[in-house]
C-alpha cells in the first residue's frame, strides 16, 4: 500500500488511462525490433519487454513523485531489453536503434563508461527512445506519444545484473560490504570473459576468411579439413563434374542435397587437408563413374541425388585399396548410421566389384 500525494495520484490516473496505449506500443515496437535485428543479421540471445506495473510505478512515485511533472516525464513505463551474445554486438544493436528511433541523448546513459579504471559493476547501455516523426508506413499505426527505454547488454552482463538485483537491490536491505566486493570481483571476471568471447569470434571469423582465400586460390594442401573449410570447398562444387557424368548415363536430373555429412567420411578415410579430398576426386572419379554405370546402366532411373558422386568415390577408394567388405561396412556406417542392412550393401558391392574395370587395372 502506497501513500501518494495528489500530484502523484494524478500521474497514476493518467497511467491507468494510457496503459492500453503502452501495451499496444510494446507489441508493435518489439515486433519491429525483432524484424530490424533479423534484417541486419544481429543474433540476440533475448528480447524482453514489460509495461511497468501499477505497483512498481506507485513505488517510484512515492519515492520521487515530485521529480515528474506528468506521465510523459517517466521514460521507463515501457521498457525493453535486448540481450546480446557478444560485447561488440551491443554497439551494433545500438546503431540499429539509432536508425529506427529518435534517441533522447540527454537522458540516455552508457553505464559501461561510468566506471573508473579501478571499479567494476553494472554494465549496460540505456537509450531513451521516441518513435520517429516520419516513420515508415507500416509503423504509422503505432500510437506512442511517450518516450520509452531500451537497455542493451550482453548475456553475461545480464546474468550479473539479475543476480546483483536478486541478492541486494531488490531486497531493499543493505548487504554486507564483503558480498558487494565479491559481486564486483565477479563483474570484473565476466567483463574479461565477455572480451574473450568477442575475441574468439573475431579470430574465428579471421580464420574462416583466410581459409576461404586459400580455397579460392587453389592452395588446397595448405587448408586443413574441417567443417568451415569443407563448406567453403563445397561452394566450389567439386563433385559437380562427376555427378553430371553419372547423370548423363540415364539423362537423369540431379537433386541437390547437403554434402556436409561426407566431411566425417573423408576424415575417417584419412584426409587431413582439402588437397587430400581433391586427390581422391582426381584419382577415383573414373572408378566412381564405372560403379554408377554398372548399377544404373540397366535401369531407367532418371533421378539422382548430388550425394551419388562423393558416395561412389568413397566406394571406389575403399574397393581399390583392399578395404573389402568390412571397409565398405564402415563407410556405410559413417554415412548412413550403423545398420545390419549396411552389410547387405557391402556384400552386394563386393560381388559387383569384379565387373568394375578399374578393379582390374
Amino acid at each position: 500500500m502506497y501513500i501518494l500525494d495528489p500530484h502523484s495520484e494524478a500521474i497514476m490516473d493518467e497511467y491507468r488511462k494510457q496503459r492500453p496505449v503502452f501495451r499496444a506500443a510494446e507489441r508493435a515496437i518489439v515486433k519491429r525490433l525483432r524484424e530490424s535485428l533479423a534484417e541486419t543479421g544481429i543474433l540476440v540471445a533475448a528480447v524482453e519487454s514489460r509495461v511497468k506495473t501499477e505497483h512498481s510505478l506507485a513505488g517510484k512515485l512515492e519515492l520521487k513523485g515530485s521529480k515528474y511533472k506528468s506521465l510523459a516525464d517517466i521514460t521507463d513505463i515501457l521498457g525493453i531489453r535486448l540481450i546480446t551474445f557478444y560485447l561488440d554486438d551491443v554497439d551494433k544493436v545500438a546503431s540499429a536503434l539509432e536508425r529506427l528511433f529518435d534517441i533522447d541523448w540527454e537522458n540516455s546513459v552508457d553505464k559501461r563508461r561510468l566506471h573508473e579504471v579501478d571499479s567494476f559493476g553494472y554494465q549496460s547501455l540505456h537509450y531513451i527512445c521516441r518513435l520517429k516523426e516520419s516513420r515508415a508506413e507500416d509503423e504509422a499505426e503505432i500510437n506512442m506519444p511517450y518516450r520509452f527505454e531500451i537497455q542493451m547488454r550482453t548475456l553475461l552482463q545480464h546474468a550479473w545484473s539479475n543476480i546483483y538485483h536478486d541478492t541486494g537491490y531488490k531486497s531493499g536491505v543493505e548487504i554486507p560490504r564483503e558480498y558487494i566486493r565479491n559481486l564486483n570481483r565477479l563483474a570484473g571476471m565476466l567483463e574479461l570473459a565477455d572480451e574473450q568471447f568477442s575475441r574468439i569470434r573475431s579470430e574465428l571469423t579471421d580464420y574462416r576468411r583466410r581459409m576461404q582465400a586459400l580455397v579460392a586460390s587453389g592452395n588446397l594442401d595448405d587448408v586443413p579439413l574441417d567443417g568451415d573449410t569443407f563448406r567453403s570447398y563445397l561452394d566450389l562444387a567439386p563433385f559437380q563434374r562427376l555427378n553430371q557424368r553419372i547423370a548423363a548415363i540415364n539423362q537423369a536430373e540431379i537433386q541437390e542435397v547437403p554434402l556436409i555429412p561426407f566431411l566425417a567420411v573423408f576424415k575417417t578415410i584419412g584426409c587431413q587437408t582439402l588437397g587430400d579430398v581433391a586427390r581422391i576426386i582426381k584419382d577415383y572419379s573414373e572408378g566412381a563413374y564405372q560403379i554408377a554405370c554398372y548399377q544404373m546402366g540397366l535401369t531407367d532411373l532418371d533421378i539422382i541425388a548430388s550425394s551419388v558422386g562423393p558416395q561412389d568415390l568413397c566406394i571406389a577408394l575403399v574397393l581399390k585399396n583392399g578395404g573389402g567388405r568390412s571397409g565398405l561396412r564402415r563407410l556405410f556406417d559413417h554415412l548412413l548410421g550403423p545398420s545390419e542392412s549396411n552389410d547387405m550393401m557391402a556384400e552386394l558391392l563386393i560381388e559387383q566389384s569384379s565387373s568394375f574395370p578399374f578393379m582390374n587395372q
Partner: protein, 100 residues
C-alpha cells in the same frame, strides 16, 4: 498399388503395397498430397509390402521430404526390401531419408 494412411500418436504412417511404377505414381499422387498435410510432424512410409519403385515413385518421396523440411517435420522410410535399398543406394537417396 495401395496406400493405407493411418494417424496415431501424432505420427502419420502410410503403408505402401505393390509396385510404385510410373502409372501407379500418378494414381497415388493424391495420397502423397494428403501426406503433405501432415508434413509438420513425423511421416512414416512403411515399405514392407512395396516390391518396386521407379523414378516417379522416388520423386513422390522427394516431394514429401521437401515439404517436411519446410514445415519442420521428417520422413522415415521403414522396412525397405533389399531391391529397393539398392535403388536408394545407386541414386544417392539413402542419404536423404532416415531409413529404419
Amino acid at each position: 498399388m495401395n496406400i493405407n494412411i493411418d494417424n496415431s500418436n501424432g505420427v502419420t504412417t502410410a503403408n505402401l503395397e505393390g509396385r510404385l511404377d510410373t502409372p501407379a505414381s500418378t494414381e497415388v499422387a493424391p495420397c502423397f498430397e494428403q501426406l503433405k498435410e501432415a508434413a509438420g510432424g513425423t511421416v512414416v512410409l512403411d515399405c514392407s509390402k512395396l516390391s518396386y519403385i521407379s523414378s516417379s515413385g522416388l520423386r513422390l518421396f522427394l516431394a514429401l521430404r521437401k515439404e517436411t523440411s519446410v514445415k519442420g517435420g521428417k520422413v522415415i522410410v521403414r522396412n525397405i526390401s533389399d531391391n529397393i535399398r539398392q535403388v536408394f543406394m545407386m541414386t544417392g537417396f539413402l542419404n536423404m531419408f532416415e531409413i529404419q
